[in-house]
């Protein structure tokens, strides 16, 4: 509060108080999880297309799409690490080739083609922006507890926000969700929230618990 009084229009410390260690964690996690996402793109397409898994139960493992943001946030516990880690991971995912998959709108290619009235227009791969949104939605939940509470409840809430935004982007941005029936629609919504909230959020909470065990007074 004293720092805030001195500079009402500027942050109390430069770049949200990140230390060199925080930068290292965010950069390393972003790149590593970006490469994992790139491999998982192929695997996920195989599950849905070649193996024919139903979309709704498959969404129970969607929490892994959030680990590029959850893991740095759980390790550093600083503002912005979830957003920046997940954005970096998405950037790596759409930038790194080779581009072997071309199914729907969610393959890894830097440019995609959007067809409007029969004519194709190149746009930057929207998976980058999906990644930014997936980092941003949990970031709000963590921020609404002022980056002070890191217990299981908050992580599940953050993951639920992420699952919700992922559901919205699948419908309105990437257009890769197909609903055989109303049950698939509601089932997909429920399994997205459970998969990202309960499972992904619990994983992030476990990571943070391992890293911060006995060090809580450092916050």
């Amino acid at each position: 509060m004293e720092n805030a009084a001195k500079s009402a229009s500027r942050p109390a410390s430069w770049w949200f108080g990140w230390t060199a260690r925080d930068w290292a964690v965010v950069l390393v996690c972003g790149v590593v999880f970006g490469l994992i996402y790139r491999l998982w793109d192929d695997l996920y397409t195989m599950m849905l297309v070649e193996w024919g898994w139903n979309l709704a139960p498959t969404s129970l493992i969607n929490g892994m799409w959030f680990m590029g943001g959850f893991v740095p946030a759980a390790i550093t516990r600083k503002p912005g690490t979830c957003l920046f880690g997940e954005s970096l991971a998405a950037l790596v995912e759409v930038t790194v080739g080779p581009y072997t998959i071309d199914v729907g709108d969610f393959g890894a290619e830097i440019y995609r083609t959007v067809y409007i009235a029969g004519q194709g227009y190149p746009v930057f791969n929207m998976v980058l922006y999906v990644g930014i949104l997936e980092g941003l939605a949990p970031e709000y939940v963590l921020g609404w507890f002022n980056y002070r509470r890191w217990d299981w409840t908050v992580w599940v809430l953050a993951g639920a926000a992420g699952g919700l935004i992922e559901f919205c982007t699948g419908i309105w941005m990437t257009h890769y969700y197909v609903f055989e029936s109303t049950w698939t629609f509601w089932g997909l919504l429920v399994t997205s929230i459970i998969g990202v909230g309960l499972i992904g959020g619990s994983a992030a909470w476990a990571v943070g618990r391992i890293v911060w065990r006995g060090k809580e007074e450092r916050i």
């Binding site: 509060m1 500079s7 229009s9 949200f16 921020g143 002022n146 419908i171 309105w172």
Partner: protein
């Protein structure tokens, strides 16, 4: 303390505490914004030719961000911009005749809720980000301008990927649309919101 005069009561996490009047203000501003978005602003936009190929016609785009900025300036509560902007977008879509739109999902055409609701959510999220990262403690003009930049960016993204109305334009026109939207958001929303918040929450200076 950064806020003097009408001091904000803080919750146990050090953030401004939501109280009933704040919720009522946000709801009222969101509903009023929804009415404006439905009945007033479309005619203004159309009059100025927004959506056509000239980037300067996007100089009115800032009006679509008003509800969120006003709500956050008046209450300064975490999440006020997201809630008000989503509420306004939802109400404006519900009041229009077209609540659902046909969207091609994995090759099949389906009726889903109109994508403008998601656009409103995106605009609120884009504007709220910088305040969240700064822990809702900084309310200066530069923070408001950064917020306007975030709002502009997310509104541009939704114009490309959600409603897809900007995709038709060549890249220089898209850049012009971005700059014009930022200028209008800064002038119509961010700087008035900064002034309003300063009058409401800070002591009178000179």
């Amino acid at each position: 303390m950064s806020q003097k005069g009408n001091a904000l009561e803080l919750n146990r996490y050090g953030l401004p505490r939501w109280r009933v009047p704040d919720a009522l203000w946000v709801a009222a501003i969101g509903l009023a914004g929804g009415l404006l978005y439905r009945f007033v602003f479309p005619s203004i936009s159309a009059e100025c030719g927004a959506g056509e190929a000239q980037p300067w016609s996007s100089l009115t785009n800032g009006v679509w961000m008003l509800a969120g900025f006003v709500a956050l300036a008046v209450t300064r509560r975490p999440g006020a911009m997201i809630i008000a902007e989503s509420l306004a977008a939802l109400l404006s879509v519900l009041l229009s005749g077209q609540t659902h739109a046909e969207i091609e999902l994995a090759g099949k055409t389906r009726m889903v809720l109109h994508p403008l609701v998601f656009t409103g959510l995106l605009q609120g999220m884009g504007g709220e980000t910088i305040f969240c990262l700064l822990r809702y403690a900084s309310w200066g003009p530069w923070v408001w301008l950064l917020s306007a930049a975030g709002c502009t960016w997310f509104s541009y993204i939704s114009g490309i990927y959600v409603t897809k109305c900007y995709v038709l334009f060549p890249a220089p026109v898209q850049a012009g649309i971005f700059i014009a939207t930022f200028l209008s958001t800064a002038v119509l929303c961010a700087l008035p919101a900064w002034w309003l918040g300063r009058r409401l929450f800070d002591t009178y200076r000179g």
